[in-house]
């Protein structure tokens, strides 16, 4: 998982500590989120996205090799 939290944080001139305070988590959690080591809950992902004025899918990028459901097209004929 790749996150763009650092990029968005820099855009709004927020420190890790400040973002952690806004979201209500420890600074270490923000550090692990930025490093892509922590898989957050939907609630935390939403809170972080809201704090950085963006959406979850803009902030978290999953590097899945598997194709998505929209690419699984079954031809009947």
């Amino acid at each position: 998982m790749i996150t763009r939290i650092k990029e968005y944080r820099a855009r709004y001139s927020l420190t890790q500590e400040e973002l952690a305070k806004i979201v209500g988590v420890r600074r270490e959690t923000i550090v692990f989120l930025e490093q892509g080591k922590y898989n957050p809950s939907l609630k935390l992902a939403h809170d972080v996205a809201k704090a950085l004025h963006t959406t979850i899918d803009e902030l978290f990028i999953f590097d899945d090799d598997e194709p998505g459901p929209e690419s699984r097209v079954v031809l009947v004929d």
Partner: protein, 140 residues
């Protein structure tokens, strides 16, 4: 609703009060020669706990609040750590039970209890350290 701090203080005070009560009623209890030791342990433990809780609360208020938050990551690691530590200890108990049942290693209850305590405590400390270092329970 009582806060966590008040609950902790209540537990410490209760232990102290029970210790004092045990000394007062020791003549009516069986094995009264062991009561003073138990009372001293309860009183000392209770008072130490109260002092520790008060000092920690004072330190937390003084320092930055964000450093003491138990967020979802910490709670997730704690829950997973305790589950794994319990399963590990349960496995050890099963092995000890089999060894004892087959008379390969006969042990008394005191040794068995100490093994369980140290296994559970040690494994939970080790796992907690490991998962906190990784950042998540399934760290990459």
């Amino acid at each position: 609703m009582m806060t966590t701090l008040r609950w902790k203080l209540l537990i410490g005070c209760c232990a102290t009060v029970v210790g004092v009560l045990l000394i007062l009623i020791r003549d009516w209890l069986p094995q009264s020669q062991k009561i003073p030791l138990l009372s001293i342990l309860l009183i000392m433990g209770g008072l130490s706990y109260v002092v520790f809780v008060l000092m920690k609360s004072w330190y937390d208020k003084k320092s930055d609040v964000s450093e003491v938050i138990e967020d979802e990551r910490i709670l997730k690691i704690k829950a997973y750590t305790f589950m794994k530590a319990f399963l590990f200890s349960f496995t050890i108990v099963c092995i000890l039970g089999i060894l004892n049942f087959s008379r390969l290693w006969v042990m008394d209850a005191r040794s068995a209890i100490m093994i369980v305590i140290f296994t559970m405590g040690g494994s939970s400390l080790l796992l907690s350290w490991y998962y906190n270092r990784q950042g998540d329970i399934n760290g990459k």
